[in-house]
């Protein structure tokens, strides 16, 4: 029973990582850039949701929608202003700009919302399920987070597989030039990717803060790096990979804390990442690309 409880804890935080990782993976797969500002978009999403519920008194669902709208607009704006002018140049230049954007968002959030942490009210209102006299507890957040992350994963898979826009995205991801020649509007497709990624970030922000209630300007950065790690474990660019990587990372983290050492759990998590990459150099579900000679 004890093991089960830790497993559930692991899956719970893992699902949060998974949703963030899905956003990373989408953007990486299509725009081929590491968007280090993604974690900060999550933070903005959480703040918007917090303000809508706590200051305007609107219901949780409205706050999520508002967060999604704001983050989508923010994502498109960031892409247009900061990333698009650099498209086609060194990917490192874009990476550094993304870091600049990340600094900007964190400091802007501090100016707007102050440094004092906000206590995020969970969007989940129903009671936790308790089994075996409380030895095993499954909270509502766990259920919602897992459900949403699966939903998002399935939705994204269907979207990229079935819709016109989704197919265009895959085409751009495979070969940007060829896609352009086939009449696909690459700029629009990439903007769309950022829009979807940022909307996902908003959902991730709300779920992250429902699980971990403290909200401050730096809230997004550490989970962002974790999620990035998760995306790499799963094979960056792969949608089911992000999900798998996220949940695996959550479980590894929880179990290493419980059974090995809490002090060294960071080291253990990253050591596992390295081991996985040694065995599967492109992640668990990543595509192995043979270089053409």
């Amino acid at each position: 029973m004890q093991v089960l409880q830790y497993l559930i804890n692991g899956v719970s935080i893992g699902s949060v990582y998974a949703i963030i990782a899905l956003g990373y993976t989408m953007v990486y797969g299509i725009a081929k850039m590491l968007n280090f500002a993604h974690g900060d978009v999550i933070m903005v999403g959480a703040y918007i949701s917090f303000c809508v519920t706590n200051y305007m008194g609107l219901p949780a669902i409205v706050s999520i929608l508002a967060a999604m709208v704001v983050c989508t607009v923010l994502g498109i704006l960031i892409e247009k202003l900061a990333y698009k002018p650099l498209r086609g140049t060194s990917s490192l230049a874009v990476l550094i700009t993304a870091i600049g954007v990340s600094y900007f968002l964190q400091n802007a959030a501090q100016l707007i919302w102050g440094t004092a942490p906000k206590s995020f009210t969970s969007i989940v209102t129903f009671k936790p399920f308790s089994f075996a006299d409380g030895a095993l507890v499954i909270t509502g957040e766990v259920i919602i987070t897992i459900a949403v992350s699966i939903l998002v994963m399935v939705g994204l898979t269907l979207f990229t597989g079935k819709t016109r826009m989704g197919k265009a995205m895959r085409a751009v991801s495979e070969d940007r030039d060829a896609a352009q020649l086939m009449g696909i509007n690459v700029n629009q497709t990439i903007s769309m990717t950022f829009a979807i990624g940022s909307a996902l970030a908003a959902i991730a922000g709300v779920l992250l803060c429902s699980t971990v209630p403290t909200l401050q300007p730096t809230t997004g950065s550490m989970p962002g790096i974790r999620a990035f790690t998760a995306a790499v474990i799963g094979g960056i660019g792969s949608i089911p990979g992000a999900m798998l990587g996220g949940i695996l990372l959550g479980i590894i983290e929880t179990f290493s804390k419980k059974y090995i050492s809490t002090e060294f759990s960071d080291a253990i998590v990253f050591a596992v990442l390295i081991l996985i990459l040694l065995v599967k150099p492109t992640g668990l579900l990543g595509k192995q690309v043979q270089e053409k000679v």
Binding site: Y28, L34, F36, A82, P85, L86, G88, T89, S90, L92, A93, L95, I96, T97, I99, G100, V101, Y103, F104, N107, A108, L111, I225, F228, T229, V232, I236, E263, F264, D266, A267, F270, A271, L273, I274, L277, L278, P281, T282, G283, E291, V293
Partner: protein, 358 residues
């Protein structure tokens, strides 16, 4: 022979050495005239360390084409090794300069060894995957050093992973105390030593670039398969670049660590690695003098903006983004070129009119 060595490289290298030397002399003269404030004097040594970090990372990122997100980890290894070595040698070696040099080499070698160990698995990977592994190693190192306890007493060194395990005799001193880090470090770094380290780094890196090793490294970056086809062992060369870069970062760490009285492992986190990467990218990939200049400017910039209070860091972010866009974006470049030509055309026209009017 000079002709064959390509005059252009020789000239660029000479300019690099000259710029650094002149900057050093100017600062020394100003300092001796008492024209520098304590803040400026305080920047000098860390700045030297960051320049060395930027140059050594440029060897990896710019010249070798390998993205590393954990360079600060090597700096950390060097720093803490240097602190321990300097403390152990305190009663053995009298001269601070000699002690600093020994500590620097010790830190460099330790970082180089870790670079080698990390390189074995990491260099099997490429591109963004290598980046994430270096990030992971940086975090692991930070985590491990943050839980490391090293004490020194008359019996010798004691190393442990828990606070209770280090039991020191009377007069013993904790050199490294887990999350509290190293405290009460004797400051033996100095600006002239920092300058010497920069010269040494430039010497090593520029020599490396202009040797058969450097050609091989660039060849591996430009076209791995072709490089292999002419007998270049790609892994060996990535490894050489990685170890040299880690070695120099370790030395920079010692310079940095022995200039500050309290140092924590968390200093060498992802953010520091990223900051150094920003220096490199902004200075230009593979451009060594560019790294030196951009490290200087970007290190001073947030300090110079202290007067802006609340807006300081947000403006730094904005400046960073704008500078990136201006230096890298093809669109902005074209725009600026157009403006420049149109201004020139106008000036010419005005000049002509002026002539006509006369």
């Amino acid at each position: 022979m000079k002709k064959l060595l390509s005059n252009k490289t020789t000239r660029t290298n000479t300019i690099t050495y000259l710029v650094v030397t002149i900057a050093f002399l100017v600062m020394q003269i100003l300092s001796s005239l008492g024209m520098l404030g304590s803040a400026t004097k305080g920047y000098l040594v860390p700045l030297c360390a960051y320049i060395v970090m930027a140059v050594s990372l440029n060897l990896l990122v710019g010249v070798c084409g390998e993205l590393s997100l954990g360079h600060a980890g090597f700096m950390g290894i060097g720093a803490f090794t240097g602190i321990v070595v300097a403390a152990v040698l305190k009663n053995v070696i009298a001269g601070d300069v000699l002690r600093l040099i020994i500590a620097m080499f010790a830190g460099g070698i330790m970082a180089g060894c870790f670079g080698f160990l990390i390189g074995i698995p990491a260099l099997r990977l490429r591109g963004d995957y290598l980046a994430i592994v270096t990030l992971a190693f940086g975090e692991i190192l930070k985590n491990v050093i943050g839980n490391l306890y090293i004490g020194l007493d008359s019996e010798g060194l004691q190393v442990a992973f828990s606070a209770g395990s280090v039991e020191l005799l009377e007069g013993g001193k904790m050199l490294l105390d887990g999350p509290v880090g190293a405290t009460g470090i004797e400051k033996i770094s100095s600006f002239p030593m920092g300058f010497v380290l920069i010269l040494f780094t430039l010497f090593v890196v520029l020599n490396l670039i202009n040797s058969k090793e450097g050609r091989a490294i660039k060849a591996v970056r430009d076209n791995r398969i072709a490089a292999e086809s002419v007998g270049i062992n790609v892994t060996a060369f990535r490894m050489k670049a990685f170890v040299v870069s880690a070695f120099l970062a370790g030395m920079a760490g010692v310079l940095f660590g022995l200039n500050i009285s309290s140092l924590q492992a968390s200093k060498f986190n992802f953010n520091t690695s990223i900051n150094i990467l920003v220096f490199v990218v902004l200075g230009g990939m593979g451009n060594i003098l560019g790294s030196v200049i951009s490290a200087t400017v970007l290190y001073i910039l947030p300090e110079a903006m202290r007067g802006l209070d609340d807006l300081r860091m947000i403006l730094y972010a904005v400046v960073l983004i704008i500078v990136m866009l201006c230096t890298w974006s093809p669109g902005v470049k074209n725009f600026m070129d157009r403006i420049r030509t149109s201004i020139r055309a106008k000036l010419r026209k005005n000049g002509k009119e002026a002539v006509n009017n006369e």
